[in-house]
């Protein structure tokens, strides 16, 4: 570690995958970076430092995670001045984690591989939806004039619909059969029109049989550990261009159903970050190491 000038030393790059869950979902992105900087020092990993008068650890996160969102697919790349046995690195890091952060894997990257941040093209999520307690009445959906359940804009009458058929029907109209999903995306400086449709690679509602399959692994649990009434599975465009957050998709989805945005409690859990393999298929950022 006592290198006078670490920049001149050859370094090895490693990719760490970790889960963030439980109360840690309220710790923001910058605070997580500072948390890992300290944890890496406590773990005694031979992290490489940048040059200059204020050297900093060479570490970069793949994609920020919103506050309140849990994940088992967080990645960061670090540079080390010497190799450490991966199992050993995982153990040393996990000894330094707060309750709610767990390092899942540690792999060395080939020299020319892309940085995690640049490689990310999509993110997959499971979103649990729960009816608020004490409000058993299902949301009113519009019913078409011909009696079929639908979102007819004219001559609609209102009828009660159970939760699952409502969202299944809603999803069909909002996503599956829609030609486009035009939204206005507001930034600090401007407003622009954006078609969400091609940026949502997958958006489906699990049926009962699939429900458990969508549950994240046991030790990382969906945010507050509650059971939810419905589980949605989404794969969304992510990365430096067209980074689409699940909150945004759901806010427009709810709007299309005529439902107040905060009518249901959503538990958002990121499952993985994805990149494309040479054949153009999505693969996990953790599995893609050898391909890139």
């Amino acid at each position: 570690m006592a290198n006078a000038n670490p920049n001149k030393q050859p370094t090895v790059r490693a990719r760490i995958r970790f889960a963030k869950y439980g109360v840690m979902r309220f710790v923001g992105h910058l605070d997580m970076m500072r948390f890992f900087q300290k944890a890496i020092r406590r773990a005694g990993l031979p992290i490489a430092y940048s040059g200059g008068f204020h050297p900093h650890q060479i570490m970069s996160f793949a994609l920020p995670l919103g506050i309140g969102v849990t994940s088992e697919g967080e990645y960061m790349d670090i540079e080390l001045t010497e190799k450490v046995v991966p199992e050993n690195a995982i153990q040393r890091l996990n000894d330094q984690m707060a309750d709610g952060v767990k390092v899942l894997s540690f792999v060395y990257l080939p020299d020319k591989s892309q940085k995690a941040m640049a490689a990310v093209e999509a993110a997959s999520y499971v979103v649990g939806l729960k009816e608020p307690e004490g409000k058993a009445v299902h949301v009113l959906a519009r019913q078409g004039a011909d009696g079929s359940a639908g979102m007819g804009n004219d001559g609609s009458i209102f009828a009660e619909m159970p939760l699952e058929p409502l969202f299944r029907e809603g999803l069909r109209l909002f996503y599956e059969e829609a030609d486009d999903i035009i939204i206005i995306k507001k930034t600090k400086k401007s407003e622009r029109q954006l078609d969400l449709k091609p940026l949502i690679y997958e958006f489906k509602l699990s049926d009962n049989a699939e429900k458990t399959a969508f549950l994240p692994s046991k030790d990382v649990g969906v945010s507050n550990g509650d059971q939810h009434d419905l589980y949605f599975y989404l794969t969304l465009s992510a990365g430096s261009t067209d980074n689409i957050k699940p909150e945004l998709v759901f806010s427009h989805f709810m709007k299309s159903l005529g439902i107040e945005e905060d009518a249901y409690r959503l538990a958002i859990h990121r499952l993985d970050l994805l990149t494309r393999n040479p054949e153009g298929q999505f693969v996990s950022l953790g599995d893609a190491v050898g391909l890139l």
């Binding site: 570690m1 006592a2 439980g22 109360v23 840690m24 309220f26 710790v27 923001g28 605070d31 997580m32 500072r34 948390f35 900087q37 300290k38 944890a39 890496i40 020092r41 406590r42 430092y49 008068f53 204020h54 050297p55 506050i67 309140g68 330094q96 707060a98 309750d99 709610g100 945010s223 507050n224 905060d262 409690r265």
Partner: protein
């Protein structure tokens, strides 16, 4: 992992939710049902400030060493959460267990500055405890105060069941043991416990003292109600700091704290005896930790925290006997571990400049002097042993070393200050700027030098030689600041000079709290009712609320600030024995008026009385 006290929708709606979830590295986890005493330890300000405080970390570590005590932390919810807790009727909770404070045995509140007083009421209010100690029941926690503001606890006496006066390391075990034994013997009632606690050295139970006032508003008497309650409460002082507990595994916050670094306390107390400085008096005698202890702590804390910076903490680090050895050790140790060193409160001389050059980027840092007064006459009055030669000599060395930014700290409104003393401040700034242009040849300069002068307004504090001094109305403080500013604009090097000053209203209020009596408590309560909160934060401070509160309570602020108190006046804090004799303080007040300096503790004992503690510099 505990269930959180706050729901997701609340945590997602407030700023920096991670302040309220606990779970930090090095926090202490116990099962509340395994302990006999639950202690909620509170710093009544926002989390980032409170988490930066060493005293809390010391007590947290010390209390939790006991298997029968579980000490948890509490901070002021920020204004956004405050509103939500009030609206939704959610009781304030401790971070570790996320359980309500009102279910604890003790609520300990540290009192670090007067402007946190409304935040004390916020903590009590949000915890759903009666604000007044007299209205609390057997079910409520015992509310105990500690820290520097306990050297005059009277303005907040009504809100506390008891105070601990002095260094926390000494008597908490006795207090806890008494509590446990009375509970065990079924002898516990709130009243019986407080009566017996009052007999523990350093414990002050305000409800056991009678206060009467004379017709002119001054104190007529202050006496215990019972024979077994001591008339004097003795400040507790640790004599062997090496043997005292130290938190070498401090709790490390997720959100960035104000003090985002390892804090290495190298000594307590100060040898200097500046007459305005309460800390310099009430932490006497000066006591150092040994070099070996500090080396051990530094090594250990670099390992346990992962912090990237270490800072020395003391009132005057340059006076630490083994400073060169300590600093050289840190430079070696820290370079290997890539830890930066921060060295506040160093006197500027060849040694410190040499060290700073090694550990700081001189292009980015500025040099700091605290002359406190502009004229030598005034510096003699306050016994600040910094001479013009020290300042100019240090500056010259610094300019030659490549620095071009200097910060200077002063006070305005010091006792006996004249307009000439005020004008001497920008004149000193100008002289330093001239020195820069004389010292550094044109081709070596990178633009102008930058001399920044800051002033705060002086607030007389109890147990200082200036405890009898008068203050001034806000308008007078602002006149002085303006005079300084106008004089600065007349200086030759005015373009190299900057001036910043503080709010005057806050100063006046701080002055009232610092030397107030029990009658001020009603005003604090009223102001809180009017919405005063986070008074230490300029964006929240609202003098209008305070003016209304004073008027409503019929309390005249001028009584507390505009009078020079006569020598024979009974002062509200006279019942505390800090070890410093009133005779010594009076002598120093008279010497100040004559502009006579007093030697520091290493040169000559000035007989303040603290030798009686039997340790530290007095026996050096």
């Amino acid at each position: 992992m505990e269930a959180l006290a706050l729901s997701d929708d609340i945590l997602l709606s407030v700023d920096k939710a991670a302040r309220y979830i606990g779970n930090e590295i090095n926090h202490i986890k116990k099962n509340p049902s395994d302990v006999d005493i639950r202690f909620a330890l509170c710093f009544p300000d926002v989390y980032e400030i409170g988490m930066s405080h060493l005293g809390i970390q010391i007590l947290y570590e010390m209390f939790n060493r006991r298997s029968d005590v579980y000490c948890e932390r509490v901070y002021s919810p920020w204004a956004d959460l405050h509103t939500i807790l009030k609206e939704r009727d959610i009781p304030l909770f401790a971070l570790e267990s996320q359980q309500p404070v009102r279910d604890f045995d003790f609520l300990g509140i540290t009192l670090q500055y007067e402007m946190c007083y409304t935040n004390i009421l916020q903590i009590l209010d949000l915890s759903k405890l009666p604000l007044l100690a007299a209205e609390r029941t057997e079910a409520d926690p015992l509310v105990i105060g500690g820290g520097p503001c306990t050297y005059n606890p009277e303005p907040i006496a009504d809100f506390f069941d008891l105070f601990y006066i002095g260094e926390g390391e000494l008597q908490y075990d006795a207090l806890f043991d008494l509590y446990l034994s009375m509970k065990k013997d079924d002898a516990y009632t709130r009243e019986a416990f407080l009566r017996r606690a009052a007999q523990i050295p350093g414990i002050y139970v305000p409800s056991l003292y009678d206060v009467t006032y004379a017709d002119d508003g001054t104190l007529a008497s202050f006496a215990p109600m019972y024979d077994d309650v001591p008339a004097k409460v003795h400040r507790q002082v640790v004599t062997d700091l090496d043997a005292a507990p130290y938190p070498t595994k401090p709790v490390i916050p997720f959100v960035q704290a104000t003090q985002d670094r390892i804090v290495l306390e190298i000594m307590r107390g100060c040898i200097r005896g500046c007459r305005f400085c309460q800390a310099g008096m009430v932490y006497r005698p000066n006591r150092e930790k040994s070099l070996d202890t500090l080396k051990r702590y530094a090594r250990e804390m670099i390992e346990t925290t992962g912090y990237e910076e270490i800072s020395l903490s003391s009132l005057s680090s340059s006076d630490y006997s083994a400073l060169p050895e300590l600093v050289n050790f840190l430079i070696d140790e820290c370079a290997a571990k890539r830890v930066n060193i921060s060295l506040p409160s160093l006197r500027i001389d060849a040694f410190s400049l040499d060290v700073m050059k090694k550990v700081q980027d001189i292009k980015k840092t500025s040099l700091t002097f605290a002359p406190e007064a502009g004229s030598q006459r005034m510096r003699d009055v306050i016994n600040k042993g910094l001479t013009i030669e020290d300042i100019l000599g240090g500056s010259e060395l610094a300019f030659k070393g490549g620095w071009n930014k200097v910060k200077l700290y002063f006070m305005l409104g010091l006792p006996g200050e004249t307009d000439e003393d005020i004008q001497a401040i920008p004149e000193l700034g100008n002289e330093i700027a001239s020195l820069y242009y004389d010292t550094v040849p044109k081709e070596e300069r990178t633009g102008r030098c930058q001399i920044t002068m800051s002033t705060s307004f002086f607030v007389p504090k109890p147990f200082t030689p200036f405890q009898w001094a008068r203050m001034y109305p806000p308008g007078e403080y602002l006149r002085r600041a303006k005079l300084l500013n106008d004089t600065m604009k007349e200086q030759l090097n005015r373009k190299s000079l900057r001036y910043q000053w503080h709010q005057a209203d806050v100063t006046v209020l701080e002055g009232i709290f610092a030397r107030g009596d029990r009658r001020v408590g009603a005003v604090i309560r009223k102001a809180y009712e009017y919405g005063a909160l986070f008074d230490a934060w300029s964006e929240y401070f609202d003098m209008e609320k305070w003016e209304r509160a004073f008027a409503d309570c019929g309390v005249d602020p001028d009584f507390y600030i505009m009078r020079e108190r006569p020598a024979d006046e009974l002062l509200p804090w006279d019942f505390i024995d800090t070890g410093i004799s009133k005779d010594f303080l009076r002598r120093e007040w008279e010497r100040a008026k004559r502009g006579e300096v007093t030697a520091n503790c290493r040169k000559q004992c000035s007989g303040c009385g603290c030798r009686a503690y039997g340790g530290g510099v007095c026996f050096g």
